[in-house]
Symmetry: C2
Subunit: 139 residues, 2 copies
DNA sequence: GCCAAATGATCAGCCGGCTTACTAAATCGG
DNA sequence: CCGATTTAGTAAGCCGGCTGATCATTTGGC
């Protein structure tokens, strides 16, 4: 396996970590995708298109994720009076509360690696150079 | 984004790289999942359960991936006379040929990172410590 | 030898990526 | 001012993860 392409190692590592998250979040009626949205809404409500761009995901994907968050009562959608095409998404108190309860998880969960800063730097390199024309990088 | 949890960076980087693979493989009527299976079959035919374990994936996932490879004519399934529960999967000549044409892709496609060996080492760390009871690690 | 347990494969159904195609609303050009 | 273009959101449908359930076969204990 140590000879496998880096892209494949990346995919496998990602799925394994996400699976651990899934187990930890199940008791909160939350998924990994939902948690990302709750995180992005911490500061202020936002439109779905903006959320999609910030999460590096297509609009359709965000739409369904928000459907599920809404079903659980963690966010609400309401019309933007200034632009009736847009639907602003906002965390409910329950959504804010459940997100707070996820804060400790990463530390417990993420496995030990020899050089964590190097890993994070490499991942940011990849994201920076690959998300070129797909999402306007503003972060 | 540089403050985001490492698990999330891993997921985004993985999707971006996989998307680039997807584009490169589309003209070969092949997907990333299919390519992995063709790789695993390079040496010898194998059973589906073994392929699933080697790819760090559940049996059901492999089953559908092989369905599609079979539909494209890249592999064939045949019964194992020694154990009639098993179905041995084998690459066809077309499958071997199309896999050869993917060999050059990784080099063209994978983005530049500052410290590639550190990235690979970290990913192998994660895979090693996370795939504990999920797959018997033999590789 | 026979019945229980383990194993290999599949079906059904969920989630979360994606594309293509559509509607409604806002914006822009002439 | 009005038609064309752009933008926000959604529906439909595919792929690839996953779980839980089912069926056939093999293995193992008694």
């Amino acid at each position: 396996m140590s000879q496998w392409p880096t892209g494949r190692l990346l995919g496998i590592a990602s799925r394994l970590v996400e699976h651990a998250w899934f187990d930890a979040l199940a008791e909160l009626d939350l998924t990994h995708a939902g948690m990302i949205v709750l995180h992005l809404l911490a500061e202020a409500p936002d439109s779905q298109a903006s959320l999609a761009s910030r999460a590096r995901v297509e609009a359709q994907t965000i739409s369904r994720t928000i459907d599920r968050l809404e079903r659980e009562g963690y966010v609400v959608r309401h019309e933007d009076p200034a632009d009736r095409r847009r639907r602003l998404v906002e965390r409910t108190p329950r959504g804010a509360e459940v997100f707070e309860r996820t804060r400790h998880i990463e530390a417990d969960l993420f496995p030990e690696v020899a050089d964590l800063p190097a890993l994070r730097a490499a991942l940011l390199d990849i994201i920076g150079s690959s998300s070129g024309d797909r999402w306007t990088t503003e972060d």
